[in-house]
Amino acid sequence: MLDQYFGDYITVAAFIAVGALLVGGGMFASSLLRPDKPTKVKSETYECGIDPVGGGWSQSHIRYYIFALLFLIFDVEAVFIFPWAVRIEDFAAAGLGGFIFVEMVIFIVILLLGLVYAIRKGVLRWE
């Protein structure tokens, strides 16, 4: 059982190693094969063919940050829902199905309320 468990993850580890080697090797091989003649004009950053104006790192709108916050809420929620989905049958077999189901409904409704709040606050309105 434990042997099988490690066997599964050994394949994953081997795959990561081979994948990284392959990609790194490809990049190295390419660096040996390709020409490399940088000039001042060539190494300008791209800006539709004109000289770049100002720095490359501009500010972006705050609304993108809010999406990240929203995502965090829903992703953490998924962490709770997945174990629930795997285990609910055991609880149902023990006669606790209704209880465990109602609990999840309450949880999901609270989250939906949060989403409704965010939408009402105008997170998704773009002007």
């Binding site: 490359g56 999406f67 992703d75 989250l111």
Partner: protein
């Protein structure tokens, strides 16, 4: 199995998986170009090899020999790390997808999948989240305006649809009671009315949401705002050229294959399909054929969508994700739980 056998099996699987993935990508790129060409009444690639099939190989070799221009303002370490961070998770997702039924060699049973983790569904979701890192790193480390804009857009889009994608899989887990992909495929065995498979596609909303979110996750049309040429040039990989660009390209096509293969595996019965009473020595071929037929059909849908639909506007994209897909998924989780509960334990008033 002894330790050495485990290692040897792992080595063979890794080698086969890589060979398969790389050759598949070559075929897929050609397939997409040909299909789109047909839909737009063009010829598509015709010169390299029969029907232009070797065009992708030619392009790959060309990119290998092209100068990789490194702009002055890049953060070099992160700039180099980004294409690797794009490709490696894409390769790793393929590892847990079974492409055929297990076969016995002597007294050992060997799965036709890289490996079978008991948390495979979570593993897939975790790795597809990592794709966001590649995009953000590439966009930020380029030190240029268009890549940064593309990366910010892409990350907001990908995390929005990722939430829907993960939640869409909850009914599948409820239905089959496991997060192991092998067990999910096994649960879809059997036939209904002697010719229809008992597949998880009965969870239609999950299937649709997963596939739509998958199209958005891979940044494909109509959700390809990330690389909207008319607005932000190439998006996050504007400053990449040569082999480094090829890695992003490769990652995109492997991701398309992965999403199609995952949809096949989770919803369309994986490798299950009729074997037409073939003898035992031949019967192992059919599962592999069925798996690829279903997957290529889904890849065709990807291409078909790309050829048919115009690009969405960014606010529409976000509204569709947050106001439609996610609330729908949450309601569907509750409804499907009720339905599955009735099916398994009977109605409480019955």
């Amino acid at each position: 199995m002894t330790g050495w056998e485990t290692l040897l099996t792992a080595a063979i699987k890794v080698a086969v998986a890589f060979a398969l993935l790389l050759s598949l990508t070559i075929v897929l790129v050609w397939f997409e170009r040909k299909i789109v060409a047909d839909m737009q009444n063009r010829l598509g690639p015709t010169r390299a090899g029969p029907y232009g099939m070797l065009q992708t190989v030619a392009d790959g070799v060309k990119l290998l020999f092209k100068e990789s221009v490194t702009p002055r303002r890049v953060e070099f370490a992160l700039y180099i790390a980004a294409p690797i961070a794009a490709l490696v998770p894409a390769l790793l997702i393929f590892l847990v997808i079974p492409i055929g039924r297990p076969f016995t060699l002597g007294d050992r049973v060997i799965d036709l999948a890289g490996t079978d983790l008991n948390v495979a569904v979570l593993y897939v979701l975790a790795l597809s989240s990592l794709a966001v890192y590649a995009v953000v790193l590439a966009g930020w480390s380029s030190g240029s305006k268009y890549p940064l804009l593309g990366a910010v857009r892409a990350s907001a889009q990908m995390i929005s649809y990722e939430a829907a994608m993960g939640l869409a899989l909850v009914p599948v887990i409820l239905f089959t009671g496991t997060t192991s992909i092998r067990a999910i495929v096994d649960a879809q065995a059997g036939e209904f009315l002697s010719f229809l498979g008992i597949w998880n596609i009965v969870l239609v909303p999950s299937f649709l949401i997963f596939f739509i979110a998958g199209v958005a996750e891979t940044n494909r049309a109509p959700f390809d705002l990330v690389e909207a040429e008319s607005e932000i040039v190439g998006g996050y990989h504007t400053e990449y050229s040569g082999f480094r660009f090829a890695l992003f390209f490769l990652a995109e096509y492997i991701n398309i294959f992965n999403i199609s293969a995952l949809t096949t595996t989770l919803f369309l019965g994986g490798w299950h399909g009729p074997t037409f009473g073939a003898p035992e020595w031949l019967a192992w071929v059919f599962p592999i054929v069925w798996f690829f037929v279903k997957t290529v059909a889904l890849v065709f849908v990807f291409v078909w969508i790309r050829a048919s639909l115009p690009r969405m506007r960014y606010d529409q994209l976000m509204q569709f994700g947050w106001k439609r897909l996610i609330p729908l998924t949450l309601v569907w989780i509750i409804l499907s739980t009720v339905a599955i509960g009735f099916r398994r334990f009977g109605a409480p008033w019955g």
